[in-house]
Symmetry: C2
Subunit: 340 residues, 2 copies
């Protein structure tokens, strides 16, 4: 699957630390030097400076309970190429389940998956992906699904970097999360990916507890099995937390407008618009993947290769420039990409 650049809609790839209370004055004594030391993996430059300036302003103006920061996940906090991690999980799970579904070997889209036909998979329609996702994500309980995800993440490795996916987290972004939390922010993940998928590792990997992970979800139903209630996963989309869904999801789950929002693709546009429409200082940042050597380079904004996975198109760059959103150059702003 090494160079698979899958055409997929986030809509269907569902799958895809509690903040310490800090008094308004708690960080007012922190010096600029201390602040700068909080982001050791960032090069000096406008992106790092925007974060430092923003935090300095907020801690003096906004009470801690309103300090909300939202982060997209795929492509913003961890690697999303060549294909979303959760899509990789779904494809691999088709192989795992194939013995229980002998009909799959003659039935698309499963036939293509089982044959590792990358060209065919790259052309999957939304409907094809829906079939793959529902076949691999539904029909079991929430608890069983999350156990399966945890097991898979414990062994699966990224095709290029040969490391577990949960190690392919952007160290500079982890530092931003830590820095915001140290300044009284509550950090949320707001992902087009599957809420239940991300919740299995968000606490361990990002320091974000389950209740601060907002994502796409499939419907569940409450059933009594052997006298015990279970929440069973249905093959049906419940909430699509992407594009406008991110603003809707933030309102639905948090009920407060963020002061800071971080994304990397057109799916994050409305989250940044919604954040920026608030009064006072608001930080809106977009990670631009312009570093083919250390990670990947794609856009098509900035003349980089086009992609269907995490598209950052020219209209998003135009809006960012017009509205003062800060574009993070992975190549220039980050001293290093991954943790050790």
């Amino acid at each position: 699957m090494s160079n698979l650049n899958v055409t997929m809609s986030r809509r269907l790839v569902l799958a895809a630390a509690t903040a310490a209370p800090v008094l308004l004055s708690a960080t007012s004594n922190s010096t600029a030097q201390e602040a700068a030391q909080s982001l050791p993996s960032w090069n000096d430059g406008p992106a790092k400076q925007a974060i430092l300036d923003f935090v300095r302003t907020i801690v003096s103006q906004v009470p801690p309970e309103d300090r909300i920061a939202t982060f997209d996940q795929d492509g913003t906090l961890w690697v999303e190429h060549p294909v979303y991690t959760q899509a990789m999980f779904a494809l691999e799970r088709v192989h795992t389940l194939a013995s229980q579904h002998p009909e799959w070997k003659d039935h698309e889209p499963f036939k293509a998956v089982l044959a590792n036909d990358e060209a065919a998979i790259a052309k999957f329609s939304e409907r094809d992906w829906a079939e793959v996702v529902f076949a691999t994500h539904a029909g079991i309980s929430q608890a069983d699904f999350q156990d399966i995800v945890r097991q898979w993440l414990g062994t699966a490795k990224h095709p290029r970097f040969k490391r577990p996916y949960t190690e392919l987290v952007y160290q500079p972004m982890r530092e931003v999360m830590d820095y915001l939390r140290a300044n009284g922010f509550k950090t949320y993940i707001v992902t087009g990916g599957g809420q239940d998928f991300v919740r299995t590792y968000a606490q361990r990997v990002y320091g974000v507890p389950p209740e601060q992970v907002v994502g796409s979800s499939i419907a569940t139903t409450y059933e009594i099995k052997n006298g015990k209630p279970e929440l069973m996963r249905l093959p049906k989309l419940f909430f699509d937390d992407d594009h406008a869904g991110k603003a809707i999801g933030i309102d639905l789950f948090i009920g407060k407008r963020p002061y800071a929002a971080f994304g990397n693709s057109t799916g994050d546009r409305e989250m940044l618009e919604w954040t920026g429409a608030g009064e006072g200082a608001r930080l809106k940042m977009l990670v631009h993947h312009d570093d083919a050597e250390r990670e990947y380079a794609y856009g098509p904004a900035g003349g980089l290769p086009d992609t269907k996975v995490g598209t950052f198109d020219q209209s998003l760059l135009d809006e960012a420039n017009a509205k003062g959103w800060v574009v993070i150059s992975m190549k220039n702003d980050w001293k290093r990409v991954f943790g050790s």
Copy 2:
């Protein structure tokens, strides 16, 4: 509207403090005496004792991040008779909006509402209530809706007690919330009522921030109006947070199983079942309204008058007895019902 006992489905009446982190050991030095002083509005007895015993056990066994407590609202935290507060809001808002809808005076169910025809309103079908709710809760932005709710709550008074609804909160339950939070619990409201309605006052009245209010909701859509994004409320149910929906909502919004759950009606059954299915000590409590003098008496469990608003039926009482859920007698367990 004083004795209106409205037939309504919670499904359609959508409308209807951050916990301080406490170390595992933080409360282990608290004495039984100190604990008892935390619930001054409770009479000594099995209900109060169950709360004290439970908290003593949990603080020694469960890390703070897992200490989740969920509270139904109507009938558990505040008065729900003669009719849910949010239904009262909807009915009164029909009057307010009538001048913009001249057709309503000849069109049911609005005609009955405008005529204050309590007998007719009491017989409203689910469809009637849906019309009333959507006409009064949709078609405006989230921000405008919440402003309207805040204004209404500032002036509306309960027909019997002649006090603002937000003062008709059960003081003993406020003490339970405070006591749990002082012991590291995160307290959530999980209501069949409208999430956006309850979020307007939950912080002020219960010390529960918006992100810890889970409720029924209607769909919203993201629209750019005069260059600014707005979330507009649609006349369409999005999530029904009642009965099985409460277990589903808890998993969806919190992603952790509660250690304690408090309810008062059949709509809370699945929340208590879901809570009780967890391992270790779990507290499940039901408020029984058996106090016609200080508040109301209804069941029909316990031979009390039947009701369609907050029904506590015999099957719920049987299940409570079979599973060791604690039934709170408002009459016997509470020294006082309301705060001063």
